[in-house]
């Protein structure tokens, strides 16, 4: 409990609730804007983030999240998974707690659990040692989406 974890930056955005008004069907504008604002507030770049918790409410949502929050270029989300870059030892380990579907996506509690996981990981006290991520910059990111993708919060924590 003597290891503080700091809120380095929070970014949030709304987007359209109407699917037909989206600029793009393969991404969420709210995620893009929220992440840009969080990176700016925290003064970090996506490549400095050690690991992330992303809102994988559906399998495709996780792949689109990688692209929206800048973990990879647009259209390369699937490649990131195939190359194993989102696993321990990869460029950016993602959802070491198993993600939303593994935790039953308890809606509001999903966001709390993301912050809990980031905190435990940053303190190097992951619940199961086997899923402790290696830390270089001691920076973790949580990406949480609501509604039909029409709002998003990105939180960057730092030890």
């Amino acid at each position: 409990m003597d290891t503080p974890v700091w809120v380095a930056g929070i970014g949030y955005s709304s987007g359209t609730a109407n699917l037909s008004r989206r600029l793009d069907y393969v991404g969420l504008e709210a995620s893009v804007l929220a992440s840009q604002r969080a990176y700016k507030a925290a003064g970090v770049t996506p490549s400095q983030v050690d690991f992330a918790e992303v809102h994988d409410c559906f399998t495709i949502a996780e792949i689109l999240a990688y692209e929206d929050i800048g973990l990879c270029a647009k259209g390369e989300g699937a490649k990131l998974v195939r190359e194993g870059q989102t696993e321990i030892g990869g460029r950016i380990p993602v959802n070491m707690d198993g993600g939303l579907k593994s935790k039953g996506h308890p809606i509001g509690t999903t966001g709390c659990s993301m912050i809990y996981e980031l905190t435990r990981q940053l303190r190097e006290e992951a619940v199961e040692k086997s899923r402790q991520v290696p830390l270089k910059n001691y920076i973790g990111l949580a990406h949480n989406v609501g509604g039909t993708g029409h709002y998003c919060y990105v939180t960057i924590l730092k030890r």
Binding site: N18, L19, S20, Y25
Partner: protein, 144 residues
Amino acid sequence: MSSTSMPVIKSRPITIAPEIPISKTLKFWEGLKQGKVYATKCKGCGKLYFPPSADCPRCLSTELEWIELSNEAEIETFTHVVIRPTTFQQNKPYTVAIGKLKEGVKVLAWLTGFKLSEIKVGMKVKLVAKVTPEGNPTYEFVPP
């Protein structure tokens, strides 16, 4: 809904039918009954809105005018709904599509009159206003 091997109690049936105020979009609803589909256009910045919006979220103007849309559309994307929500249980599986109109605005609507295998992104369709047998004004895409 369905029976289960787990012990259950049955709740009272829940019926939700909210009354939605339409004073600001009355022309749209009346138009559907006359076979016309209206959008609104911002007099300030020129942006077109469908479903019609009474105010412009882009330039914050409250000066919008009514525009009757053409019926020429092109399918941008679609999905076929087999597992229907509770209130659509009485319907057969249906197809929902987003079509881009000649005016540039996009419309989300049911797509009827095609076999599922015939539906392709990019194909031309017609947007039509109609009143359902239950008396609800609506609009859908049909073959041109």
